[in-house]
Amino acid sequence: MSDQNIFDKLQNIDRRVFYWVLFITLMVPFVRPIGLPVKVVQNTRDLYLGITGDNVKPGDIVIMNFGYGVSAWSECAPGFTVCAKALLREGARIVFMGSQYDVELSFNKLKNDAKADFATKEYGVDYVFLGYFTGGESAIAQLATDAWTVYPADHYRTSVSDIPMMQDFHGWQDITLVLSSDTGDVGSYFLRQWQAAHGTKLAEIGIAMNGSTDYPYYLAGNYFGLSIGSRGGAELEVLIGEPGEATTAMDSINASHLLIVLAVIVANVGYLLSRRQA
């Protein structure tokens, strides 16, 4: 082992070294923010424009679906929060629902993060939390035709017939637009069962991993807008003018992405040089 030169060593660094460096790299920017500017791309801008201005009128009902669980908060929650804030400010009424069984925690976090906006709104009149649903695509199809059978009661077990706002929501005709934020497939259920079937306006607040599969739907007009990953969240925070979690996280994202590319470059330099020596 002693005849290993520096290049060989570079190639065979103990993986734990990386893990430490990575974890520390992620933490440092939180303590010492750098604040690189975030450029807003068109798909995010379209999403924001679609939920503000003339596109949403006071009293319109909007569905916001939590297709993410607690474990994906850092990726999905910032964008979702900005959208909820924007919609509440436009005077829209929001139906919250979700496909993960820890959905209540995500909803509580949202209410906390947009405290000021929820403070002026009344539960059951301006927004309602229907809670968890199962049954996948058929449930979403059923929601379009007869919402009350999917949700006979809200999350807190109040019958929907006793909730004022629900009197105006029976099916797809009553909904102005749908926003879904997913780690899984619920967005695509809405795409097929609502957007394609009834022409409902739909946008996705997606995870980065699905960016390239979601993007063609945005180009084709199925999604009127698309936010991709925590970066999309940061862009939305720029658009609404309130830097939040995603903006803070962007420094860490920048640092870690740079780190992984640097590591790959170093490994390759080592590899090429040691091959040349041999």
Binding site: R16, F23, V31, S74
Partner: protein
């Protein structure tokens, strides 16, 4: 969110923090007693929660309708219970019936659902030329078509990649590698964001940064 004040919430916060370090001691150090501790708690709690949630679900979708008069719901209940014959050696074969239903549903849905989006739509979008657009659109059009054809040839399973088939299958492999690289890169953002969230949590609990 603000830093909690109630004592139970503070304990909860620290519990989560300590358990996180126990799990990360595996990648950051090595398999050890702390990891083992967290691992077993995790596996146990996950199982318990899944059982409780599934039980709730079962009551809502099967038992309640059954008691409400939907007698057909007795079928999945019995079939489901038949899976447990696995535990009795001489009746083990009975468990194949419910599994047959699951497998049949899986194949039926899988096969019927795969042809249009995965095969037909993929080819349609490959051969639909850009209606207008510049040079780049046509280059992309050509790139995708050549890529799809050559990588399909790569997957021919009853031919060795030699002779006439050697060049196209070789090119097909290169297209596949580009696809894999791009997908790898795409996933990095998502994964790092998750880890960023944990790094933030680590600092927040220590009150180094605000919650």
């Amino acid at each position: 969110m603000a830093y909690p004040t109630a004592i139970l919430d503070v304990i909860g916060l620290w519990t989560g923090w300590v358990l996180m370090l126990m799990i990360y001691s595996y990648p950051l150090y090595k398999e050890n007693v702390a990891y083992r501790f967290a691992e077993h708690i995790f596996v146990a709690i996950f199982l318990a929660i899944n059982l409780v949630v599934n039980f709730t679900y079962l009551m809502n979708t099967c038992v309640t309708p059954l008691l409400g008069g939907n007698l057909l719901m007795v079928v999945p209940l019995i079939l489901g219970i038949l899976i447990y014959t696995m535990l009795i050696p001489e009746y083990r074969w009975v468990s194949r019936y419910p599994i047959a239903l699951l497998v049949g549903a899986g194949f039926g849905l899988g096969i019927r659902g795969a042809i249009k989006p995965s095969i037909l739509d993929a080819i349609v979008s490959t051969i639909t030329a850009p209606s207008a657009g510049g040079m780049m659109d046509w280059v992309n059009f050509l790139y995708i078509a050549v890529g799809l054809v050559s990588s399909m040839l790569y997957f021919l399973l009853t031919y060795e990649h030699t002779g006439l088939l050697q060049p196209p299958t070789r090119i097909g492999r290169l297209f596949i590698m580009i696809g894999l690289g791009a997908y790898f890169g795409n996933t990095v953002l998502f994964r790092f964001t998750m880890l960023t969230g944990r790094a933030q949590f680590f600092l927040q609990v220590l009150k180094i940064i605000p919650m």
